[in-house]
């Protein structure tokens, strides 16, 4: 029989609500949204891409360019929600030797003053649940807290399973779990997701995987308006298909900001990881 972590998950469920609440209020993501609510830019990049040790260079470059949040992709062999660009960057990163352990090693100490250039921008890790399960959910959350990761986006960990099995552990270590909604998500489910989410809600712009370059259609605008009118308690960032100034601007009309991923991966590939290259990209998006 395999050994499961059920006992721990159960023990902590509901036992430390005060502690949990206090931890969450100190989170850099919630702090950010309490100070700024418009035109937030969240940029995604894949850890270990283009080169294994580019993570800190890109992270510092994004901070210097003034992005509001950074989403670091934990590469996975089977990223089903991702299009070709991010798939390939995941494959390359794995070939380069990237792993969760290597990523945590790279991030170690990045928040500390003595590093000379401390990272202050909120950090999210984005990836798939299996590598996290193999690392161990509690060990993962603990390490996130240690190195200064503020939240995670795990698209294949649906809300009900998160709440049933893992929420107490994430909360104990003050790690936010960001949930997705799509144009097909029903109103009652959006309400439920809003109720159970901390930080922000990730609005997937259309029925698609990442990396679409089709622009923003009327039906997408109608969906953005519908969600805007729901007055959710959480802020919203729009992602998938946000790849230039126009799409970023449009997204910002309807939400608190937007997330750019595939377009930045393509930029890194073409223009490199220098601070100037990253600044140029961020300028193009924000103009």
């Amino acid at each position: 029989m395999y050994v499961w972590a059920s006992a721990r998950a159960k023990t902590h469920y509901g036992l430390k609500p005060v502690h949990t609440f206090m931890t969450l209020t100190q989170n850099r993501i919630t702090d950010l949204f309490s100070q700024k609510s418009e035109r937030l830019l969240n940029v995604y990049f894949t850890a270990g891409f283009p080169q294994l040790n580019d993570t800190m260079t890109i992270l510092r470059g994004l901070q210097a360019a003034g992005v509001d949040l950074v989403e670091i992709g934990m590469p996975y062999s089977d990223p089903v929600a991702d299009g070709e660009t991010i798939q390939q960057s995941n494959g390359k990163a794995l070939d380069n030797g990237m792993s969760l352990k290597a990523l945590f090693d790279q991030l170690e100490g990045c928040r500390q003053e003595q590093s000379g250039d401390p990272v202050t921008v909120p950090i999210l890790l984005m990836g798939y649940i299996n590598p996290v399960l193999q690392y161990g959910v509690e060990a993962f959350c603990k390490k996130c807290q240690e190195v200064g990761v503020d939240g995670v986006i795990l698209p294949d960990l649906p809300l009900d399973l998160y709440l049933a099995d893992y929420a107490p552990t994430f909360r104990e270590y003050g790690i936010l779990n960001v949930n997705l909604i799509t144009p097909q998500t029903t109103e009652s489910r959006i309400r439920h997701i809003d109720e159970e989410s901390d930080g922000f809600i990730y609005m997937v712009s259309s029925a698609s995987i990442t990396g679409s370059t089709k622009g923003i259609s009327d039906s997408m605008r109608a969906y953005f308006e519908r969600i805007q009118a729901m007055n959710l308690r959480n802020p919203r960032l729009i992602g998938f298909g946000i790849n230039n100034h126009d799409t970023f601007d449009t997204a910002c009309e309807y939400a608190n900001g937007a997330i750019v991923g595939s377009a930045f991966i393509r930029h890194l590939e073409e223009k490199g990881t220098s601070a100037e290259s990253i600044l140029e990209f961020v300028h193009t998006i924000r103009a």
């Binding site: 089977d78 798939y128 299996n130 698209p155 294949d156 649906p158 399973l161 709440l163 099995d165 029903t186």
Partner: protein, 399 residues
């Protein structure tokens, strides 16, 4: 909320889609509405008398069911027990796969879907899907790893002749696992009008349960046939090969709660369990999440999925269905790892002893007989899941 990490002993799927610790629906939100629509409707649809009537009529007139239960006398003598073969190889399209595609296409019609997407490894499920799409006049898109398309050219031609569009999966390792990823991505991109026909008892709930129910016709027939032939309610063993495990799920289904019947699963050891070229999931894997369910999975320490290997393209999948993971974890099933060579020898043996050329997948189940320490009065049912026509070139290399 009830945690899914608590022990559970039943072999039936729970409300949340778990068999013991395994199963569930680990899917991105983009797939939630599709999977939820299916979850809410599949039992209602399947249990509807009109659906049942159409399903059974098609199984009889189109698939050619019931398939025979054949007493293999010379094989019995050779292995020293009474061996019956459930002849799924005689199904239309040459394997059990069509039992599931008939069921799912009828579900898709009732959900008002206009297009079918499917994944395929060796091409058997792709052919079975293209077949029912032709029969029902629905558009059919099959994703197949580009390496598999080269290896299984005749099946690519068959699918195209049946009117399907075969799309090469060029991502990752370009085999079954990547074809499955691509089919899921297609479904994410086309959520409203498309139904995804998964070919095995894998994927998010309710797929494993739905596919097992459609394949359960195998053990339903075996029960009746064995009783008619022997007067016995149950055999001592039911043996089947497991890649994802759909023929095994069907062959085991009506025996899950009959503890006197040992359920035997034959996995592909490839060139040997420790060779680095294997698909023996329970021997090499650990619990993990792949393609929407928590199961046993071949993976690196870092949780990256390992590309499996087997001489049989239908068995080289890095996971197994969650039901089988539960059978393994709970000790209800006996799992044997069968090498390429052992499977080939079992295939040659059956051909010579009984005049039946088995699919290489099914040959793994036959090879397990040699390892089971059978006694002379044991009665064994082997699910002969498919015929070997597709494997002739592989067999021929080893003649």
């Amino acid at each position: 909320m009830q945690t899914t990490l608590e022990p559970q002993t039943s072999f039936e799927v729970s409300d949340k889609g778990f068999y013991g610790h395994f199963g569930g629906a680990f899917i991105p939100e983009m797939l939630y509405p599709n999977v939820e629509e299916l979850r809410q409707n599949y039992l209602k649809i399947i249990n509807d008398p009109a659906f049942q009537a159409e399903f059974w009529q098609l199984l009889e007139d189109y698939v050619g069911r019931p398939t025979p239960l054949f007493l293999a006398k010379r094989l019995s003598e050779k292995v020293g027990a009474t061996v019956y073969l459930k002849r799924e190889d005689l199904c239309h399209t040459g394997a059990h796969k069509v039992n599931n595609t008939i069921g799912q296409i009828l579900v898709a019609q009732r959900l008002g879907k206009k297009r079918i997407v499917a994944e395929t490894g060796a091409g058997q499920h792709g052919v079975a899907t293209a077949t029912v799409c032709a029969l029902m006049g629905l558009e059919c898109i099959v994703y197949m790893g580009s390496i598999d398309m080269e290896r299984q050219k005749p099946n690519v031609d068959r699918m195209r002749m049946l009117g399907a569009t075969v799309v090469p999966a060029t991502s990752g390792s370009q085999t079954l696992k990547d074809a499955t990823n691509e089919a899921m991505r297609h479904w994410i991109n086309n959520p409203v009008d498309t139904h995804y026909i998964i070919g095995s008892v894998v994927g998010p709930h309710p797929y494993p349960d739905m596919v097992a129910r459609f394949q359960s016709v195998i053990s339903e027939e075996v029960k009746k046939q064995l009783f008619a032939k022997t007067g016995r309610q149950n055999p001592d063993y039911v043996v089947a090969c497991v890649g994802g495990g759909s023929n095994a799920a069907g062959a085991f289904f009506h025996y899950l709660n009959e503890p006197t019947v040992r359920l035997v699963a034959a996995e592909a050891a490839g060139q040997g369990v420790s060779s680095g070229h294997s698909a023996a999931t329970t021997a090499l894997g650990k619990p993990g999440v792949l393609h929407g369910s928590r199961t046993i999975l071949m993976q690196t320490e870092d949780g990256q999925v390992i590309e499996p290997y087997s001489i049989s393209a239908g068995l080289d999948y890095p996971g197994i269905g969650p039901l089988h993971a539960h059978l393994f974890d709970s000790g209800r099933g006996d799992f044997y790892a069968i090498t390429d060579d052992e499977a080939l020898q079992a295939g040659f043996q059956l051909s010579k002893l009984e005049g039946i050329i088995p699919a290489l997948e099914s040959a793994h189940a036959l090879a397990a007989l040699e390892k089971m320490n059978l006694k002379p009065d044991d009665v064994v049912v082997v699910c002969l899941s498919g015929r070997g026509d597709k494997d002739l070139s592989t067999y021929a290399k080893h003649l």
